[in-house]
Symmetry: C2
Subunit: 593 residues, 2 copies
């Protein structure tokens, strides 16, 4: 069965004459887009790959990524769009004005980038009017934010009208993102086309859909961080979890404690000022991305603290005895002045991160053997009548956490939810003793099948999934402390990310899954490769968490290949998944069974 | 023991005052460069990391990569260099003039890129005069080319004089590359510095030191290919092996057979014109890199041949039955007209590739089951009184190879060495029957320990090593025909590349090792990630093949980390190997045993 797709077009005379005309077009045959040689006979019916994929087959949602969760009805036609004639009619809220200016510019740039040779584009086409209506004026992005939207495409007189309706700015910007995916370049007719009629209603399956970037093992420029966030916007991911400091470096300038970055940054240029952070937070907001700070403690500190006598085991060797990677270092919870320094750090972080509604306190990989190297710590513990067993050190950790949390609460002036990594402290029985389940969200980095995950769920904790077997995107490189492959090898393919299904991990407790984050720990990654490490694998996470499809990766693959091209088109150096041949020859590459 | 390194400097008053001054410098302590806090007391003796590494320790060769094989004597001092005052006095050959213009510009650009903040660089310093003397006028780069050079650095009056002496242009450009590595940026004094006195004599251990890029599974822009070649020049690699076509696409325009690229290219833009190739060949020559074409046949053909009735099993499904990856396709050796088409392809290739002194005919992964699908082939074989056993199909392959070779010889007008991949045809007894060891060089892609390698060596064949277990740089990604990891996983770390020692593979036959090539097969790689896939791992290959050091990767590691930075500085998106902390804290990261 051939389905006739249509391009409402005028005048196709003389195509395929010149040398640089495409030789191939596409036709929808039995729900698959097939390459056909362009001839004078088929030139009016053959369409570009994107147009064909938009309509061909009964598998909605065409080329949309992530897949909408509600209705998707697309007509059978595209029309030539005049890219110089796009208007966005904004909602009437002053507070959203700047956000809309950014989004208008961004949307128009996205459309322009679809044109491979701007000097050869066919002029003319219909204007596009985008009418945005939003109910709420607030531009606060947090776990309460409604991200749903409706998009309606229709032809009105001589223009195409796109209506986007949403409760919040954030829902409406998702709608705009979806609209951009319904606009495509036709390399046969050399014009931009838009789906002429259609309807999409959409809302995310999970609220917390994030990426983690570690900017301490290696530094990432502000520009490269923005590139990550921009791509997140294209994928409707909404949480940028910023692991900003670690034992290797302290790049964040704390004005009241300038020694931290002065001695802790890799160089005077490899820093983040408050202005940088504010800029990134704002950049995120415009793209529907909330930027969440992590200040990891009491372990994972070291560089930058040289001028404070508040750490234990810093850079102690051989590091294998005291921590998991060089250099070792932990805060000394027994030093009174420590909590004042922490308060200063928290205070400036809360300010620059726009008073976040969630805060990450780290808390992973605390080493008893590190603290046990310090006579000061030992003496303090003994003076309290404690022993020096593991349980005593966990008590010390509990002491740290309690006191640090007080300072967070003090600067936040309210009780914001706190995220902590799975660790010894989040295991039974300690977790119930030290971490209130109504206050703490636990971020899993152990494997999805680890019994500890079930323990936490049974005990009522909310979880963010970053199970390393599917969501640590730094896995699969060479070794850096030896010549083996790195600890969590092998490389995790996008298929595994896609099939990391919260319900499979949490079973009957799946309502306690708060969300998921894919992580880049940056020991072997910096801004030269951050794009290809995140993308397009983070798109697989995005669809899992936004759409949570019942279908599997195989079904998503042709759409994924197109979506990866969309990322590259927008300057994101996403990795190639397959030969371009597989993109052009749908369903011809998978191994048959 | 502290070794005092020196910077001949004038006026360091007021440093470490401003906020963006570095907090740390380096001192050489017990042959290791150690971070020291900059203070008014040590500010005159502390040096930058690069300067410290250049001189510290008895491990020559400082920061040079690849390690020179002859004398390396460096003085104890660097001097401030006036980067606006660099002169290259060229050899008097007209034929080398353009090459020197390119190299002069490139050298100066390399030096400029060392300055992180050009507007803050300290003015002044000594001029640098580079006197190049070359014995031979010829600029032909092939296996006979002498690549050795001597570099002498001295202070003369108010200038620094660098003398480079070499037999050929190619040796001298290697010398210039080495010189560029003896020039560094001092972030404490904000000036470019050059080693004031020194001597290097150097020549490669192996003649054939290459990279292979497959531009058929995915397309690579001319610009991205040039970036690979430029980085090759920085590593003294000298062979760019261009696997230009395959069954997935035919991007090379053959003017006399325009259908091949018209139907075979991924798009009208994803092509290489003869002008592109000539440009790339010239670009390579200026950087000491010979560009070698491969036309892979009789397997690995398909797209582009649609208008010729000369292939078998093209895109036949399920592909697993007829070839190793989609789409299948092989030339039909029984079609007489085929050899005329091949002659046209060879003829244009020889012309655009500057009449190469070595040619790659591919010859891998021929599938009997593919040819056996064709009645025409079966009939032809039966009509000759042959059977249809594997031996008969190998005879058919021999027939193809013999006739194709005749056409290569015809267009080359001489007998150039031919390279072929290991395959069934290169196994005993066939190899002796079909491939003359005086004519063919065999490129190994099987593992280094495969018995077939020994068979070839014993039978007198010269080998190029591309053993996949160490030199296939595409290994270690996700799957693309299924959800497993790709076939040759895991990822190969640079350490393994470095320790892929020809003598260990070839033993007593090591003189038959012609060279080695690291390969990027591009099923899952395109220009978005080509840099990080090649670099810095290809630098490990470069040192193995240029220097063939008796020391291992651990010894090379600190130098490798610096060299990777050098690549990044020059726009090559080489992968990070370790946290920057390990670069700044020499020998602090390796796991101790």
């Amino acid at each position: 069965m051939k389905v006739l797709l249509g391009v409402l077009c005028f005048g196709l005379i003389g195509l395929i004459a010149a040398d640089n005309e495409p030789a191939w077009g596409y036709e929808c045959v039995e729900s698959v887009c097939s390459k056909v040689e362009l001839t004078p006979e088929n030139i009016k019916t053959a369409v570009s790959l994107s147009v064909c994929r938009t309509f061909c087959g009964r598998k909605t949602p065409g080329t949309l990524w992530p897949k909408p969760t509600g209705t998707v009805k697309l007509g059978q036609y595209v029309v030539h769009l005049d890219i110089d004639n796009i208007e966005i009619r904004r909602p009437p809220f002053k507070s959203q004005d700047e956000l809309w200016s950014i989004n208008e510019e961004r949307f128009k740039a996205q459309i322009s980038r679809k044109v491979s040779k701007p000097d050869q584009i066919k002029k003319g086409g219909k204007p596009l009017l985008i009418k945005v209506s939003v109910e709420e004026e607030s531009t606060r992005l947090n776990s309460e934010t409604d991200e749903s939207y409706k998009l309606l495409l229709s032809q009105g007189g001589n223009e195409i009208i796109a209506e986007i309706k949403a409760k919040t700015f954030f829902g409406s910007r998702h709608g705009l993102e979806t609209l951009s995916q319904l606009i495509m370049y036709d390399d046969i007719r050399r014009e931009i086309q838009v789906v002429a009629e259609g309807e999409v209603s959409d809302a995310p399956a999970y609220k917390h859909r994030g990426l983690l970037l570690d900017t301490a093992r290696n530094y990432f420029s502000v520009e490269s961080i923005k590139r990550v966030i921009d791509a997140m916007g294209m994928n409707k991911l909404n949480i940028f979890h910023w692991h900003i400091t670690d034992s290797q470096s302290f790049p964040l300038i704390i004005k009241s404690r300038p020694e931290l970055s002065k001695y802790g940054a890799y160089s005077p240029e490899k820093i983040y000022t408050a202005e940088n952070v504010v800029d990134i937070v704002k950049y995120g907001k415009a793209r529907g991305v909330q930027v969440i700070p992590e200040f990891d403690a009491p372990a994972h500190v070291g560089e930058g603290w040289q001028k404070y006598d508040m750490t234990a085991c810093f850079n102690k060797k051989p590091w294998q005895k005291y921590c998991v990677e060089p250099p070792c270092g932990q805060l000394d919870p027994t030093v009174d002045g420590l909590y004042d320094v922490l308060e200063d750090i928290y205070s400036e972080m809360f300010e620059m991160f726009d008073n976040p509604d969630i805060f990450h306190m780290g808390g992973d990989e605390v080493s008893t053997s590190c603290w046990n190297t310090s006579e000061r710590i030992q003496n303090w513990m003994l003076s309290k009548g404690w022993g020096l067993t593991e349980h005593d050190f966990i008590k010390l950790w509990g002491h740290f956490q309690e006191n640090a949390l007080k300072r967070v609460d003090k600067v936040a002036k309210r009780e914001v939810p706190i995220v902590m990594w799975t660790s010894r402290l989040t295991e039974l029985p300690f977790v119930n003793e030290y971490l209130d389940k109504n206050r703490y969200i636990i971020q899993i980095w152990t494997t999805g099948s680890d019994r500890k995950v079930q323990d936490l769920l049974k005990n009522g904790y909310k979880l963010i999934l970053s199970n390393y077997d599917s969501l640590y995107f730094d896995c699969g490189g060479g070794g850096w402390v030896n010549a083996n492959n790195n600890w969590c090898s092998p490389y995790i393919g996008w298929q595994k990310v896609y099939m990391n299904i919260p319900e499979s991990i949490a079973g009957m407790y799946h309502s306690q899954i708060y969300g998921a984050e894919a992580a880049i720990w940056s020991e072997q990654i910096d801004e030269t490769t951050v794009d290809s490490r995140f993308w397009p694998r983070a798109s697989a996470l995005a669809e899992r968490m936004w759409s949570n499809p019942i279908t599997g990766w195989r079904d998503a693959e042709p759409r994924m290949l197109l979506h990866r091209q969309r990322l590259v088109e927008n300057g994101i150096k996403a990795e190639r998944l397959q030969p371009e041949w597989c993109l052009q020859n749908e369903n011809s590459c998978p191994a048959e069974h």
